[in-house]
């Protein structure tokens, strides 16, 4: 078995359909999907609430996205437990205790896959009904384990905290205790995973400020990418909110949360500018 495993070789059965993020975002059924606001929307915000006319499709799409994200998180944690020898954290090594934490995370993600698959069935979705983009695993493919901690544990598992908080609230509003409590259980695990990433990132880079800066820079790139053009944020236009309290529990400092909020806002402004430019180009033609 190779030491590092490329994203294009990820093994899937015939039910899965893989795509890139741009194509996935074009799908109007998923939150933040579709390039223009639907005329038929009766909602004053982009937030996923049960009273939206498209709530069912959006919730199912989001749950399917969570499920494939959990699969990739499972694969990523397993690869980090495998790819690096136990050592002092320098070079191609990671501390033995970090390997154990990655194995623990693999177990948690395996349970999350099972939970998400059952919730998808419960919501009337078939596996493969929505496309899968593999960006999460790409973030887990770095040859530097510290970048994996920053990209996966801090940025993407951090996103999971925001999304699970949203889905838990959706389950509560929709009167669906299965959804609400399943999301709450998974949310508790995600907070643990993010904290794990925060703690290990600080510990492994304790004496290497350059490596830490590079990792945090990578995290910001992933954070902005997974803001989905500002779909996450603190405004009424946001599809889902930044879960500040849970992020604090997961080891984020106030400054770090503000940085993410700033990136979300920046991504929103850039998306609006891109849409305006596109509309102007159409009007001119």
């Amino acid at each position: 078995m190779r030491q590092f495993f490329p994203v294009e070789d990820l093994a899937r059965d015939e039910r899965f359909v893989q795509t890139n993020m741009a194509e996935r975002i074009k799908d109007p059924r998923v939150p933040g999907g579709g390039s223009a606001k639907k005329k038929s929307s009766r909602s004053s915000t982009n937030k996923l609430t049960p009273d939206r006319h498209d709530a069912s499709d959006r919730a199912r799409g989001l749950m399917h996205g969570i499920m494939v994200g959990e699969i990739q998180a499972l694969e990523g944690a397993g690869r980090t437990a495998h790819d690096f020898d136990a050592g002092d954290g320098s070079g191609d090594t990671i501390p033995f205790a970090l390997k154990l934490d990655m194995a623990r995370q693999a177990w948690d993600e395996a349970r999350h896959v099972e939970i998400s698959a059952k919730l998808s069935t419960w919501m009337g979705t078939e596996l493969g009904e929505f496309q899968e983009n593999t960006v999460l695993f790409e973030a887990a493919c770095s040859n530097d384990p510290v970048l994996r901690l920053a990209g996966v544990n801090r940025a993407l598992e951090g996103l999971a905290i925001d999304v699970f908080t949203q889905m838990k609230e959706f389950g509560d509003l929709a009167g669906d205790p299965f959804l609400e409590f399943c999301e709450d259980w998974m949310l508790a695990d995600e907070v643990t995973h993010v904290k794990m990433g925060s703690d290990w990132l600080r510990k492994v880079t304790e004496n290497d400020p350059d490596r830490r800066a590079k990792a945090l820079e990578f995290q910001q790139v992933v954070d902005k990418l997974f803001s989905f053009g500002g779909a996450r944020g603190d405004t009424a236009e946001s599809s889902f909110q930044l879960a500040r309290r849970f992020r604090e529990l997961a080891g984020f400092t106030d400054d770090e949360v503000e940085t993410i909020a700033g990136l979300d806002q920046q991504a929103l402004v850039e998306r609006k500018a891109a849409i305006n430019a596109m509309q102007a180009a159409v009007a001119d033609s």
């Binding site: 190779r2 699969i71 694969e75 397993g78 690869r79 390997k99 896959v113």
Partner: protein, 199 residues
């Protein structure tokens, strides 16, 4: 340790979703076993620290290499056979032998860990066998599984089991292919009642 690393690495390589999930679960079980030994072994003062994480011999190194070699997505049977039909049965044998032959008083912490670990091993062995039986559906599959098992079993026998020769006691093979152990006289019991204190 090698086992949890291999299981973790294989998760991304198997297309079957149920196998993927189970490998993730078992990866943690074996990581926890490694953690227990990582804590316990240095407490055993007769152990040499440099030997704690070393393979028993060169054949065991070859075994791990051969067991972890399959990577392609169509080789799930080979991956599972190596773990659940070869390595884990050897683990169970070695752990059971050790548990049954160490001191229940002085080595009680080891026995406690062995009991927890053995329970996991039995559960995982059963899961693995069920996954294999769901994948082995034709005579060709049976031959594949058996051939791979024989290949790996030969190497681990050469290694003398997971911890080297003597892992499950002295060999019963003496001067040639003698498979039946010589009858032995039972050891005298050490629990004879004493006259003092007997009511």
């Amino acid at each position: 340790m090698k086992l949890f690393e291999a299981l973790g690495g294989w998760i991304a390589t198997v297309p079957e979703l149920d196998v993927k999930m189970r490998l993730g679960t078992h990866c943690y079980h074996h990581a926890w076993h490694a953690e227990l030994w990582h804590k316990r072994l240095p407490e055993l003062r007769e152990m040499k620290p440099e030997r704690l994480t070393q393979p028993a011999n060169e054949a065991m190194v070859r075994f791990i290499e051969a067991m972890t070699e399959p990577e392609a997505p169509e080789l799930t049977i080979e991956k599972l056979v190596g773990v659940y039909r070869v390595l884990i049965p050897h683990f169970i044998a070695a752990y059971t032998y050790h548990r049954n032959n160490t001191s229940e008083i002085t080595d009680a912490p080891t026995i406690r860990s062995l009991n927890f670990i053995l329970q996991d091993e039995f559960d995982d062995w059963r899961d693995g066998e069920m996954m294999l039986q769901s994948l082995i559906t034709s005579p060709a599959d049976v031959e594949r599984a058996a051939a791979h098992q024989a290949k790996l079993e030969s190497i681990i026998v050469e290694a003398g089991g997971i911890a080297g020769h003597g892992s499950i006691g002295p060999s019963t093979v003496v001067d040639g292919p003698q498979l039946t152990p010589e009858p032995t006289t039972p050891e005298p019991t050490t629990t004879e009642p004493t006259t003092e204190g007997d009511a």
